[in-house]
Symmetry: C2
Subunit: 473 residues, 2 copies
């Protein structure tokens, strides 16, 4: 069913409102949401101002140029925090600060893979984040192919003793990115599954949808009580090559060398800036993106774009001369890539104020246009979401599921603890072409699409923060 009963009722109410006299309808809506006609008009004006050109391009240009790659826990991520604090203060935000924390450190070393037999040639790989290294000179072993993680799980323990497992399954494009959860599981748990069968290393086809020679990195984890083996991803063309060799039926030998460095404690932090609310300053609406990136690219689409979009939206509100009722809190998260560590740390530090957190969302799915709005809020909150929808429709944003929490990764810990959330869904069709590769650079961002995102975020941010409703179900 495309139209649920709840949704049909809302449409009916909306239709009735349209047929009522404008003023009476506006008054009814104001009473229900706290959003006066003037407030809604203000949101509309901010939206149109964003479409005319926002600060977002300059922000992402500066972050990717002046800081560049900014792996969590490194000196580069620290420079990104300094850069952000300085910029946010200069822009005039209030309560600009870093909430510091520490994380396990990991940095990439040399990485090299060679197909030794039957057809000697180099392979393009990248180590997965958190992987252990190989012995000093690397390791050499037979490569054993599996068509899926399920097939690897199903193989007999001991059958991979001394061998390297290879899993070939290939994620395909989806607009909402929904295949990533399933296919990404291989990256996250594959090493320990292979180690349980005796493997000395695992190579996977990149969790990516391009056909360029860029391997895709990303965080992995080891299960307790299982030997820790090196894990790396092949670029898609290299994975294709391996599979062509597999079809020739001759034994394959691979040499793999990786020398990452791990440390027990490395500095990270969340950067926070605010526009303090005029009536309910203790109530908080959250927007933001994450400041850290993988080390390979310059973190343009992941997540310089999110930082830029949400900062530009907040700056439009700051410069509008009107404060919303509630506090708008911009959070530029740290250490997202390595396990949402900034998000967990924020929940730990702010658990007592959780009830004062009204609603939140994060931009962390690239820089393409937003095409859908999904939410999971109270009926009172839904009335505000419906107003957002009205203002977003001209941007090409259609309402999607209103029974779907979704907030961006850094708010997952808060959402799991009860924070209402909403998602402004970007078009992710090409997102996994670039995600976690060397090729995540500024040239991939379209400034016009970026401003469409800012327009949507400013509508959300203003209306959520200027409303009086409780979004909790």
């Amino acid at each position: 069913m495309f139209v649920t009963i709840a949704r049909a009722r809302r449409l009916l109410v909306a239709a009735l409102l349209l047929t009522a006299t404008g003023a009476a309808a506006d008054a009814a809506r104001d009473t229900a949401t706290g959003l006066s006609p003037a407030s809604i008009a203000h949101a509309r004006g901010l939206r149109d101002q964003a479409l005319d050109g926002s600060l977002a391009w300059d922000m992402v240009e500066a972050l990717t140029t002046e800081v560049g790659p900014r792996l969590a826990g490194t000196e580069a991520e620290a420079r990104a925090r300094d850069w952000a604090v300085q910029r946010l203060r200069a822009m005039g935000f209030e309560n600009v600060r870093v909430e510091p924390f520490t994380i396990p450190g990991w940095e990439r070393g040399e990485e090299r893979a060679v197909l030794l037999a039957p057809f000697p040639q180099p392979l393009e790989i990248t180590g997965l984040g958190g992987s252990v290294g190989t012995p000093g000179d690397g390791l050499e072993a037979e490569l054993v192919p599996f068509e899926s993680l399920a097939a690897l799980r199903a193989t007999a323990p001991g059958s991979l003793d001394g061998k390297i497992a290879y899993v070939s399954h290939a994620m395909q494009r989806t607009q909402d990115g929904s295949s990533y959860g399933f296919y990404g599981t291989l990256r996250r748990v594959g090493a320990s599954v292979a180690a349980e069968k005796g493997a000395v290393a695992i190579l996977i086809r990149s969790i990516g949808t391009d056909s360029h020679r860029f391997p895709h990195t990303g965080q992995m984890r080891y299960a307790e009580g299982v030997p820790r083996i090196p894990a790396a991803a092949l670029s898609n063309p290299d994975a294709d090559q391996i599979e062509r060799v597999v079809r020739r039926g001759q034994p394959m030998r691979v040499h793999l060398a990786m020398s990452p460095q791990a440390s027990s404690e490395a500095p990270s932090g969340n950067v926070i800036a605010e526009i303090v609310g005029r009536e309910r300053p203790e109530e908080i609406v959250i927007i933001g993106g994450h400041l850290d990136s993988w080390d390979l690219g310059t973190g343009a689409i992941d997540d310089g774009a999110g930082v830029a979009i949400t900062t530009a939206a907040a700056k439009l509100i700051l410069d509008s001369g009107q404060r919303p009722r509630r506090t708008l809190r911009l959070i530029l998260w740290g250490a997202e890539e390595v396990g949402l560590l900034g998000g967990y740390e924020y929940l730990r530090a702010h658990r007592e104020q959780l009830p004062q957190h009204i609603i939140g969302t994060e931009s962390d799915f690239g820089a393409e246009r937003i095409w859908q709005l999904t939410a999971q809020v109270s009926p009172a909150g839904q009335a505000v979401v419906d107003i957002m929808s009205e203002l977003l429709a001209p941007l090409g944003v259609a309402p999607g599921s209103m029974d779907k929490a979704g907030s961006g990764p850094d708010l997952v810990p808060m959402v799991e603890a009860g924070l209402p959330s909403l998602r402004l869904v970007q078009n992710g069709m090409d997102y996994f072409d670039l995600h976690h590769t060397h090729d995540d650079t500024l040239d991939k961002i379209d400034p016009v699409a970026l401003d469409q995102n800012v327009a949507a975020y400013v509508v959300f941010a203003w209306l959520a923060a200027d409303s009086t409703v409780n979004f909790r179900r």
Copy 2:
């Protein structure tokens, strides 16, 4: 003028032929070219057979998989020769052989560049072929930008003492690849131009049209009597990044480390296979592609495709049960990338038989569709080219300049010595996206376009070899 007088006359003759009785026209054409109606029909049949599917995909799939990268002078290029000889013999070609020669050897080592100041971050580079290395631990110096090779040439001697030159000019797409000569000059001569001004190294924007983080390699040369300095190319996104930093006006420092290995003598060779002519076996028509590739990709579009297209065309003739009058010689050239060394060696070894070389062409511009035919031949030869044009028109191949020699690079030495030539011009709009990068891999080739190329080559090869005309002007 789109229609020259000579061309108008040819069109008139063609129009007259159409109005003459078919049989009389055919007889006149046969007398002038030696091409009987049956011979032309045979060419048409071979063409259509190619379009129905040729051997080309299997060839390029096998070469790029079973050999992979095959840098001139290396053991991998030797494996490519073995692979080719074995395949060509198994296919049934005659006089399959290697004509060996030696070349200066060069192999890439470690390569690394880092922007140290003002914004520390790694840069994606590749050393240019033939470049010397840096001192052991690399060198660190100020980076000085120039907008063009001309600007670098115009700077004062001594002004770059101890510095690294950077030249930013960017080649744009052209269908016929004609901008490559101009922009590629920077790659070929830039190091010595910079060294004359005192530079200790040169970085250039890649001679490439993509916006991915693949630097483009390619051969360079040192001028006599000028210090030899390391030369490398930045990927286009990295070049963009440097130029954004330049605009911020702060001094830039770069660390560069490269450790290539050169040797005085390395083995290479041309692989030759033939279909011996039935009437004039001593007369030779040449087709082919080059067997060597750069080391970064697997040499799919450069030039596995050319090897595959021309071998597949020759195989269609071989399997047709009819020999052409003249010998068709398939040459899979060695050491093209490092200076057309196979082409020069062939001329040296066969100079005495030069008059018996009737006409030649090479496929070395990728794997996209052929859209144009250009030639520079005698009036008698032009009559054959016109027949070729008639048969190529249904493939979307239009006649271009008939006063333009063009043969593919390996025949340049022979053409300069007087060999008539013809060019089946491929659509090169995207060629320099991939050219000389890690990303030159099989997945970039469209099998349907590949077969269109085979169809065009088989028309050329059959008609040139079955004709009796002298193509020399």
